[in-house]
Assembly symmetry: C2
Homo-oligomer: 387 residues x 2
């Protein structure tokens, strides 16, 4: 570990079949008014909405609601929530749903009392938050983003055709998150697979950077191996509690910053996907699944030893008798096989991208990279390779 | 992951060569009076003491000191510190040293305003802390216990010949800890090796439990592999920053509760060592190194599949062609080789234990276990096997 770092994650996680039993006690630490925010009604179908409103009532809370958060939450919805917070003097924002709902809750939380234009201030200029932050908590129903234990907030500004991710500091992390793997059983298989690959990508994007011998890489390899094993089981048997609980926890620790400590990191795959998402509204993990193999085939030569290690330690390929080139490509081939096993697409076309969008996506993507710095032209090449 | 759990760790870690630069800023969050506690003077020799008192002065703090904390901190020292806290109205206890000093700081922190006998209340009856807790922070100079990011406080009551460990809740965790691997360069090799094995043992004691497929086990395997790799480098080249930084971080995450989530855990090796330590004052990790192989040879048959997995995933032994028995024992043999590489002892005799102490140690050890419940007679057999 060569890079200095600060690690600080004050989110409390209640995990397991009985995790919701902690909600009432947790609520007692906050004031009377709760903004309950959720998506398009699946929490009502599953009965979770009734359970939670029942607990809110027992806890003597006044409840304000914001429903219908989209899978790519919009800045318009965020502004609507911020207005509710101000009008009702909300004391706690309780997000019930997946990463989209929690991301939106955090966006509302930091924006409600921002005196300037929050989009410009926080998602474009990435300024520090100095205004009051309304506490957020979550009940997670969909796995992948890790939003339940970090400061991430990806918001789509429809007017500007921009999907920007911002990572806020620990003050904006959920105060507590309730994770019951059983809630994820009702998620459609395609969404489950998309969430699994989102997690997978978070781990890869931290792993494929740096040249040092770093404990974090060993930890990531362990989580990847567990995730691969449990994903294979869950695709066959979605109600396998052991597999779904492992997947849920893998997703949380894959992006609670512990797998990023002392790592340079390379988030270019996410940067590209955000712009694909802005143009197509595709499932985030599906977008990542299309882009990742093409991206890693484009850059692997610049960090080849790490790709050899990936093949060996994550996929168990005996690389000793192979050329580095061959070993690295075999590892990426295994990644493709994994994506196929998950039933996710392998072309941008399948996500609804049209050929004339490619330069627009390439030119609007934030440039970065890890082993190789990516220019707009490099990004265009990657997009063409997976079109 | 089958067991429900709550994960909550609010300690902030500043890690790296420049970590101390954060101290002044962190101090600004606390009141005027700081109790500075440290060991037997190595922090003065290294110059760290001067650096820290300089920062305390810049931060305009009033400093009270408690020096000479023993490697097995005593209840008498704890009481002395508690008296200082009350007399001087201390606002923050700053521990500079290894696990012993931090454990003692936490003990002082929860005891200072306890109206009853804190030893009985907190280390015997393990009651919840309801009295005010004085904030603790640490600057770590010795690696192994993980005390910098948890609620552990192992205290030796010399009058009662008892060394008891207590794990306090997150309110008693250090508020922040400063981890600079360079500070560990001056630790004598034997102490370094002892700390490495303490960490190793923490990981094993969480790993060797449960029958479920659990992400935590994959994470532990990753950390063990990193620790083995870096330990081999550090034994040859103690000033290898990369190796020492990996070892330091492995120690922290090995006992910050992330490697224990949804695990039954088996802390019997620590229980036995605590009593060996109470009778001999041996280095904690050295005690664990003597007991561990004998303990695991005694119990492996009760959880044989996990021991086969240990051989394969941690030591890279191709177990497919072996009997389970042979594979499990080969893994334990690798553990013995690792201990030998670290230059740690392999017999209780070498730690200063005398034969007539064995029944006393066995009978005073708290009984527990993982794959097998350990009676006093079982413990005696283990002690005899490594005498």
């Amino acid at each position: 570990m060569n890079l200095d770092f600060t690690f600080y994650n004050p989110t409390k996680i209640h995990f397991g079949k009985n995790a919701l039993n902690h909600l009432q006690q947790e609520l007692s630490a906050y004031g009377k008014t709760v903004l309950l925010i959720y998506g398009k009604g699946s929490v009502k179908k599953s009965g979770l909405y009734d359970q939670i409103t029942d607990i809110l009532q027992k806890a003597d809370k006044r409840v304000v609601e914001l429903a219908g958060i989209k899978s790519n939450p919009t800045y318009a919805q965020l502004q609507e929530g911020a207005k509710l917070v101000r009008e009702h003097h909300v004391d706690l924002i309780l997000a019930v749903g997946g990463g989209s709902v929690i991301d939106c809750a955090k966006g509302i939380s930091v924006s409600a009392y921002c005196k300037d234009d929050p989009w410009k201030r926080y998602w474009i200029d990435c300024e520090e938050v100095t205004n009051p932050i309304v506490p957020v908590a979550s009940v997670l129903t969909m796995v992948g983003t890790g939003s339940e234990m970090n400061g991430g907030s990806v918001i789509t500004n429809e007017a500007q055709m921009l999907k920007n991710g911002r990572v806020f500091g620990p003050d904006a992390y959920p105060k507590f998150s309730i994770l019951n793997p059983v809630y994820t059983y009702t998620v459609p298989k395609y969404q489950m697979a998309s969430g699994i690959f989102d997690t997978f990508s978070h781990l890869l994007e931290q792993y494929f950077s740096g040249q040092d011998d770093n404990t974090t890489d060993y930890v990531i390899e362990g989580i990847l191996r567990s995730l691969i094993h449990s994903a294979e089981i869950a695709m066959q048997d979605p109600e396998n509690y052991e597999a779904r609980s492992n997947i849920m926890w893998c997703a949380t620790i894959a992006l609670n910053t512990i797998t990023g400590v002392s790592k340079e990191q390379d988030w270019e795959v996410h940067m590209i996907e955000h712009q694909v998402g802005a143009y197509t509204d595709c499932a985030h993990g599906a977008g990542l699944a299309v882009i990742s193999p093409a991206y890693y085939e484009y850059i692997y030569a610049y960090g080849i030893d790490k790709f050899v290690r990936f093949a060996q330690n994550v996929w168990g390929i005996p690389t000793d008798t192979m050329t580095k080139e061959n070993a690295a490509l075999t590892g990426i081939k295994k990644l493709k096989d994994f994506i196929e096993m998950l039933g996710l697409p392998s072309t941008l076309r399948a996500l609804g991208v049209q050929e004339d969008m490619l330069p627009l996506i390439a030119n609007s993507t934030i440039q970065g990279g890890g082993y190789k710095h990516m220019t707009a032209e490099d990004i265009l090449q990657v997009l063409k390779a997976c079109f």
